[in-house]
Amino acid sequence: MCRYLLLAIAALSVLAQSPPRFPLGELPPGKVLLVAQPHHDDHTTDYGMGGVIARFMEAGYKGYYVRASNDEKDGSHSYGQNDIINLKETRDGVAVLGMSDVISLNWRNDFMNPIPLNELREQLIFLIRKYRPDVVLGHNPWEHYQKNPDHRNVARALVEAYWMAGLDTVHPEHFLLGVKPHAAAHFYGKGRLDWGLGQISNMAFELNESQVAKKERAIAAHRNVYHNPSVKRSVQVQLAAEGKYLPEFESVSDDGASDLYLHWWMNWNSRDIGRQAGVKYAEDLYHMDDLYHLPGLKAYVKANARELR
């Protein structure tokens, strides 16, 4: 008995000392952030990047959100109405995070598998050359098990645009419009770890209370999709069948319960990743810097690079 107790204590102490799953990263220096994702709400859902975006904005970055699809199927209205409402709510949501503008490319929602990715890539290359971001955020293109084809395809177009925008051999006709080649220094990709397969993140950004709160308010701005007053009755009925109830739902309206539900969801996922990064709140990402594609040279550059004279 005593031996088992000692073994359990030893195992717990090993667990307690094991390093966090995600190393914490620092914000890279820069001025402009470009986030390109297919949908109106991707910056905050899929356990999101809303807190990270808020952190970039609080650090003085100027931010642009590229919505690649038209979101026509997201919501209970007709296609056209959903598009209009979701675009407005994208603007509301990213404004909460502190971003400056939304550029909508309006590719057809949930029909992005067969679209010409080179055409989408060209649009993104042009936007990178126009806004000249230091940091590009999107979905992780190498998360092969990403189930949503819109996420997968926009990520693939984006990661190619990220480096090809810097090549003067690519779309030289853009230069007639006054833009110049531009290579962003950092790419951060978001994956869905809860699906359990595919490539995992390699770092996390710590968030503070304010950034988590902004993330919660940003997703709440997408009322067409996330405002769900029926959640209160639904949860109450399910709990009642088990002889239980949720005290927090007793004192709020149906609308309030919907907001509370979003608050719990965003707060939980920020805490969950925070726990895996050894802090209270965090969001995880896959980071590629501009030397990432040269793994053989990283150590050499680190050892030999000097400050410019």
Binding site: P116, L117, N118, R121, P141, W142, H144, R156, V159, E160, Y162, W163, M164, G166, L167, D168, T169, V170, A183, A185, F187, Q199, I200, N202, M288, D290, L291, Y292, H293, L294, P295, G296, L297, K298, A299, Y300, V301, N304, A305, R306, E307, L308, R309
Partner: protein, 295 residues
């Protein structure tokens, strides 16, 4: 034994008996990437007596510093052929697709051209980009890897390219495949859940063939100069400099290439008994035939 299983084994074993002894067919998207990932292994196999054929799917028209795409494509092709010759590769077959535009090429178009080449050369080994691994920011390796893997599978069935079949290019099973990818994904060395039917991680000692790999990589002057200039450009943008690249000359580019290949070799050898290595996923005989049937 079921009919299906018996047929499966007949196809597998028959294919191996028909293979040209030791011959390797390499299918690559871009020139320098395959050399970085697999050049030492190919050189070693050739030194051991296995002839090799290189299939260049992309034309590398964008990999150049201050050259037009046409000139870049021409120089990169000439230099890729010179590099291949240095390794001892017997034939280079350019398919000529525009690099970084492969998304617009139907998967089946590339696949069918590769099926034809597999049936023509009947290799013992295929070396292809790993479509299940990460290739940082260039998806050409993904598209080519997916088409090559599909070609490997389909080349064995007579209902693919039946016209070629009628012309004497018979269905053929390549007994083993090596998948290459740059050493990026932190989880790349995790073994798969089972050793049967799933490509397993392997490492190849390239210490003896490194010098040859290096000379071949240095022969790709257009690509390597582009790499050096873009690295210098990026460091300058960050307020940094590499003294080696203060003057970008042939000698400084050669030194940079050496540092790059040494760095990759050491990175791939980490945790193994080798000093320099290359990493692959390997689908060998256990991939096609469970060991209990081989006894």
């Amino acid at each position: 034994m079921s009919v299906a299983r018996r047929r499966f084994l007949q196809i597998g074993v028959g294919g191996m008996f028909g293979a040209v002894a030791g011959k390797t067919v390499l299918v690559v998207a871009t020139d320098a990437r395959w050399l970085e990932c697999a050049g030492g292994t190919v050189a070693k196999r050739i030194e051991d007596g296995a002839p090799a054929v290189l299939v260049r799917v992309g034309n590398d028209e964008k990999d150049a510093w201050e050259l037009t795409r046409e000139e870049a494509a021409w120089r990169n092709r000439t230099e890729a052929e010179a590099a291949a010759k240095l390794l001892g590769i017997g034939s280079v077959i350019p398919l000529g697709y525009q690099s970084s535009e492969l998304q617009a090429v139907p998967h089946t178009t590339i696949r069918d051209r590769l099926i034809l080449l597999i049936r023509r050369y009947r290799p013992a080994t295929l070396i292809i980009p790993n479509p299940h691994a990460e290739h940082d920011r260039n998806l050409d390796s993904y598209y080519v890897g997916a088409a090559a893997e599909d070609a490997w599978h389909c080349a064995r069935f007579p209902n693919f390219l039946p016209a070629a079949n009628a012309e004497g290019l018979k269905p053929f099973v390549v007994p083993e495949v090596y998948y290459y990818a740059p050493p990026l994904d932190p989880r790349r060395r995790e073994p798969e859940s089972t050793a049967t039917f799933v490509p397993q991680p392997v490492r190849v000692d390239i210490s003896a063939s490194f010098a040859k790999k290096l000379r071949a990589a240095q022969a790709m002057r257009t690509y390597q100069r582009n790499l050096a200039m873009r690295l210098k450009e990026r460091l300058t943008a960050q307020g940094r400099r590499l003294p080696l690249l203060d003057q970008v000359t042939d000698a400084s580019v050669d030194k940079l290439v050496e540092e790059n290949l040494r760095g990759l070799g050491v990175l791939c050898a980490e945790g193994s008994e080798y000093k320099m290595a290359e990493e692959f996923r390997h689908a060998g005989i256990s991939y096609g035939i469970p060991s209990k049937y081989l006894r």
